[in-house]
Subunit: 311 residues, 2 copies
Amino acid sequence: MTCEGKTSDVEAFFASAPSLRDEDTIRQRVQVFIDEHRSRHNRLVCVTSGGTTVPLERRCVRFIDNFSSGNRGAASTEYFLKADYAVIFLYRGGTIQPFCRSVPDDALLTCLEPDDSHGIKVRAEFYSDVEHAIRGNHEGLMSHKLLKVPYTTLFEYLQILQIIATAAHSLQRLAMFYLAAAVSDFYVPWESMGEHKIQSAGGSLAMQLAGVPKMISVLREGWAPNAFCVSFKLETDQTILIQKANDALRKYRVHAVVANELNTRRKKVTIVTANGDTVIERTDQAPDVEMELVGFLCEKHAEFISNGQYT
Amino acid sequence: MTCEGKTSDVEAFFASAPSLRDEDTIRQRVQVFIDEHRSRHNRLVCVTSGGTTVPLERRCVRFIDNFSSGNRGAASTEYFLKADYAVIFLYRGGTIQPFCRSVPDDALLTCLEPDDSHGIKVRAEFYSDVEHAIRGNHEGLMSHKLLKVPYTTLFEYLQILQIIATAAHSLQRLAMFYLAAAVSDFYVPWESMGEHKIQSAGGSLAMQLAGVPKMISVLREGWAPNAFCVSFKLETDQTILIQKANDALRKYRVHAVVANELNTRRKKVTIVTANGDTVIERTDQAPDVEMELVGFLCEKHAEFISNGQYT
């Protein structure tokens, strides 16, 4: 295992993490899903979406959160399903779900209303968006092409990602990881964390956070070394973005890094690969930038499946 | 203005806060609502609910969050409406809404399904919960007894609370503040905050957070000095809880402090007043602890309205 994800750091991280709730159930659901698609020789992508939290106290009142609406992960899942991939959607609870991008916040209260005959109905102005959401989700689940697995904390995210990646190793090059989740870089190690709520009597508060071991290296080298792996780089400062994406490509040995800037991320991304950069800008005709992004990556993945490499 | 909410600290806090989006609209909605209920001599309560976030960067990617589902605020709002109060529900976006406590997470996808005639319908097992949610919410809004105002950050929460409290001053003793939201004790002052995403190259991260001025004092002394004011104290350590609630009662000069412990908060609360402590425990027959809690506080408020004090 190389540089950025030292075995000892990674082992220490997992050893000190709180145990994953429902681990057996999650492991079984993932295994059954992957086995089914392996037997059919289907392509499978694990799309991670939303942001992780980092608890600051063991009996958690306060935590650090990484903001992400989940829009990119939800959109990309829709396009991967359309491209006939099986999708494991590893998402932060409460973030945007596939087929639900047009549904408003607080959807139930906003979209439904009492009707005249003492029942309830969908408001006319939301009907087509709600129908799209319910039908898309239902078809994904019923066809066994979509498996949704929620997480909240950084610990849960990495524990579940490990379960998925080690199981997906059996798919070899047919598996893709599309790591769009916003994962914390820093955390409070569980054993150094206070049992009780931090007391505020002192006036101010100094916090010391440790770096999270870079698990992408571990995924690439240990968990699923033959899978096609796409990571994401989000910055607010355009001037350092492409350089950092190139650094990540080399350091973590992923197949592509999708570089995006906070303010323009819905309109433009740059896909950085060993063969150069590809800029994707949303045209006026396109519903979003993910359609072309996913299309591009599906092509690269197809080349990779055939040749073990891509251009 | 006394001890804990020094005028200079409070002024500095508001002066350095980012400006409130839609301030004029919020101010107008609040004013119209309060004016209507003042003209009808109605009792009015401002229920705060959910937890505040504290941004760690100006172009916010990371933030500290205070966990709160919003269950207590939502439940209490229902009982205040039943007791014929007008309610301003100041809630964290995405937390539990009044009448929606029985509705599952991810309600739209969970509660609706395609029907046989190419439409969509509410799943039978969720029908009565969904109907209760939609009708309760609709009646609250249509009767003009319920005003819902969302916030996300600590800055937004305190700015909106100030707007509500200064407007509610005109109601004199008919106004109540029921401050159930989980408000950050620490924050990063806006002017000392980085413009860009914190860089993780260094490995670990040290953060210095400042104490938030205690706005309850300011509410009591400056914004709405004649309103009945109830604050909440949540601890994970039972041994310090009642002492801290008593400290808060004295320091902030509120009329009651509701003390609750993280693990037992759904079953038991202690109401600490100048006249002693009252323990409320949920019985097997009661749907929740809030029914009796709100009933108790409505009685105290009624005494306070009649006499300017309570027993």
